[in-house]
Amino acid sequence: MKKNNLLKNSGVQSLIASLICIIIGLFVGYIALLIINAEGAGKAIVTLIKNFLYYPSKPAQLKYLGNTLVKTAPLLMCALSVLFANKAGLFNIGAAGQYVVGAGACLYLALALKMPWWVCLLGAIVAGALLGALSGLLKTAFNVNEVISCIMFNWISLYCVNMLLANVKESTSPYTLPLKANNASALLPDLGLGAFFTKNNYVTIAIPLAVITAVAIWVLLEKTKLGYELKATGNNKNAAKYAGMKENRNIILTMAIAGALAGMAAALLYLTGYEQWSTSQSSVPGMGFNGIAAAFLGGLNPIGAIFSSYFIQHITAGGAYVDKTMYCAQVSDFICALIIYLCGFVLFMKTAMNRSITKREEKAAAKNKEGGNA
């Protein structure tokens, strides 16, 4: 009975389901690689999984672990954005667009208005929150499905931000001006963290900040009145209304918080100077969509998301090291997409697990007693 209880625990089930998704995802990815080129497939998969361990020296490994972490922070924030909305019954496919406006806001504040980092960070948060709130408002006031409105906003944001940031781009390239040369005060402080990762200047407070946010979101959802209300609205909005909760306010608030998280995600990446925005990009950056993957792979739990985000970023970064004469870096995108697809089956896996537990218990119970009342 005790042993079964562990399997019955929903958290344990989520973990098992996620591991199954990862294993199947990697396996199918491996088969795809085999088809493309049978010789290097095994090596390529190992390369993906090794990521920074590809480098033989310890300092180099640390440095590139740092790089992976730099990109994990925004991914984690996007995952938090998606899962937070999901708890309130909303599918925030708009994390991508909220991320875009966050990037636009922080880079414009930094490069055009020469603001210090914390203003840029706040600006990104506010921009994301406003866009999120707008989707929430459209849902409550006009019954526009948030999935559709978010998708439209993703594209609108992209074109708007491209236009906005065209004002602060390098004259010879589509990329925005580098932060370091133009406004070093907008770079996130690193508090000595970079030194630990072999002088990796991109490692900043972004990483601890993202982890702290994850914990804060967990506390908010599990321990507070607001979390209780939001989850009630997500599970059964009629019951929430019946209990006098302000359903519409909660939907808008949820989307605003989710948007703020996604907007902050962008600031945590672009304010490190790790990447410059390309004003000629014609598709919405994948960070927000990968956030969906990380959120579901993490079992929709903020703490789980920390690990799933890292994992996804780990193999994505690993994609850069595969043998380019055989495969392209997108094999890791391919594997990530496979994993999200498999995450759609998590509910089925959990049901299957519960069913097998119930069956086993019933058999045991049938032996012991004549069966309880229903």
Binding site: A32, I36, N37, F91, I93, L138, F142, N143, V144, N145, V147, I148, S149, I151, M152, F153, N154, W155, I156, Y159, C160, N162, M163, A166, S282, S283, V284, G286, F289, I292, A293, F296, K324, T325, M326, Y327, C328, Q330, V331, D333, F334, C336, A337, L338, I340, Y341, C343, G344, F345, L347, F348
Partner: protein, 313 residues
Amino acid sequence: MLLLIQYTLIFASVLMLVALGGCFSEHSGVINIGLEGIMVMGALGGALMMRYLPEGTSAFVMIVMVVLAALIAGALYSLLLAVAAVNFNADQTIIGTAMNMLGTAAATVIVKALNTAADPNNVSSTIQYVEQKKAFYVNIGGFEFSWFVLIAAVALIASHVILYKTRFGLRLCACGEHPQAADSVGINVYKMRYAGVVISGILGGLGGIVYITSGVSEWKFENGVAGFGFLALAVMIFGQWKPLNIALAALLFGMMRALSNVYVAFDFLQNLNLPGAVYNMLPYIISLVVLIFTSKKSRAPKAEGIPYDKGSR
């Protein structure tokens, strides 16, 4: 002006084909967010066929083979959604989102692999089809008429007839409205939903190949289809899930999209001096505005998005 009509027709055809696809899927009760990915896969199928058909293939054979390749690729890819949504009660929104990401990633991986295999220095994700593309267009006094427009028109009429005049259509709609009722009169809901999703795959795949051959003569698969699958969803909602209304909505949206290609040809538009991005945004902004006005009285199929489980009644 002629150019505007030409582009309007071709973009409207794309949107109509894909929106009709979405319409079949949703009438069967499955929300298909993955149309974008299906389009990419259809486009990939068609583009590969164009590339590997021997030179000198007659225009007719070219059209038939490319169309077949696109719709088969779309149909096969849509099975990913059908299996997940029908057999495994998966969340249709996640699956659709995953399919969009997977479509672009898989197409990129495949095209890059092929390009690299042909020429180790070629790491691009582009397929070229300058010559082959000519088969799809007829030049009538400066107006390039695309055979795809005709195909789209046929698809429109066929969709209307199938949905409203045939046994299959009646049963399909019953599954999207009230699957328990359909089941109780012996209709196999699972089968019908498979049919709805696969038809959406066929039409979506077709839409994909029409899209990538619409303007340019090569396609970079890393770019996917630039949100056209999502625009088609908006067209479908604006058209209230009815084929004829969808056709009108597609024409409107098609024109908006065409403007972004040809606005330079209009003096008064050029005088406005708006950046090109504004025209790129226009279809999405219009979609949102339209949705704001139509969503209150939306007549979506009642059971869409809800997995059908025989056990629960």
